[in-house]
Symmetry: C2
Subunit: 181 residues, 2 copies
Amino acid sequence: MSRPAHRRPEYHKINKDLFVLTYGALVAQLCKDYEKDEDVNQYLDKMGYGIGTRLVEDFLARSCVGRCHSYSEIIDIIAQVAFKMYLGITPSVTCNNSSKNEFSLILEKNPLVEFVEELPAGRSSLCYCNLLCGIIRGALEMVHLAADVTFLQDRLKGDSVTEIGITFLKKRDEKKYRGKK
Amino acid sequence: MSRPAHRRPEYHKINKDLFVLTYGALVAQLCKDYEKDEDVNQYLDKMGYGIGTRLVEDFLARSCVGRCHSYSEIIDIIAQVAFKMYLGITPSVTCNNSSKNEFSLILEKNPLVEFVEELPAGRSSLCYCNLLCGIIRGALEMVHLAADVTFLQDRLKGDSVTEIGITFLKKRDEKKYRGKK
């Protein structure tokens, strides 16, 4: 599925509820297809990866963000520009280590779970929003940045916030990463 | 999946590309799950029906549309308010019969197919956007209006426009309709 080259439609903004409910239908369908939570989580991540590799082209074209000179600049763009554009929220950012390649995005609000009060019964290790991790990983991959992206905390699992961890992999770790695509 | 009562978040608008690509992933997943196009079409319609029954509550709350006094007023609201709110487009409307219960929504543009150049091979009778028919049907059902909603034309099938037909069912037809939910 690729986007015809000639398109640059001028209309961009929509109400998010249709997206949020459609995403819920997607997760529900995957829960029917896969018994184990890990398989659903992995599939959402893989699906997100595919979406991220396509979305980043549009993001760069629409947002006109300039070249970044550090991992923390990249994280700020993800939090303040990309999340705002696609989900209408701006997570806060923390840097988690001295070598400045491990970060967290802290989501006080998460529109994807707005219609979800709790995880379905028997799905306690489901990462409901795992599509987001795949999208971030796929988008970073397209700008030649390998990263591990995972949920560190999840409100749907009783944590006080939802936290996405992003670890930029150093060149030598990339071989290990290649196998994950 | 129901929405917690206390929520009325103030942020509403997002960029549509994430939704459009996620919808594509949903259709691709259903095409893996179901061999026959009719089954995918039916499943998208059923999924849409479920989404429509929840979305209409939010739509009425956000849009503050008043009581309608005719089918054509309802169709105008669907085209000019709902489609604009959720997909960023305003389809044109035609009335197709003298008893004024058959209408068409003509979509010159359709954001859902923006990343789709053609139907997948061997999927010629796939109604890629059938979720929309189910959403309209489910939303109308929640305001006590039974209707048949189907694609009459589809650009992905070579037609010049995409046309959704909406037929409001008269009271006596409703028994036939009940079986479809």
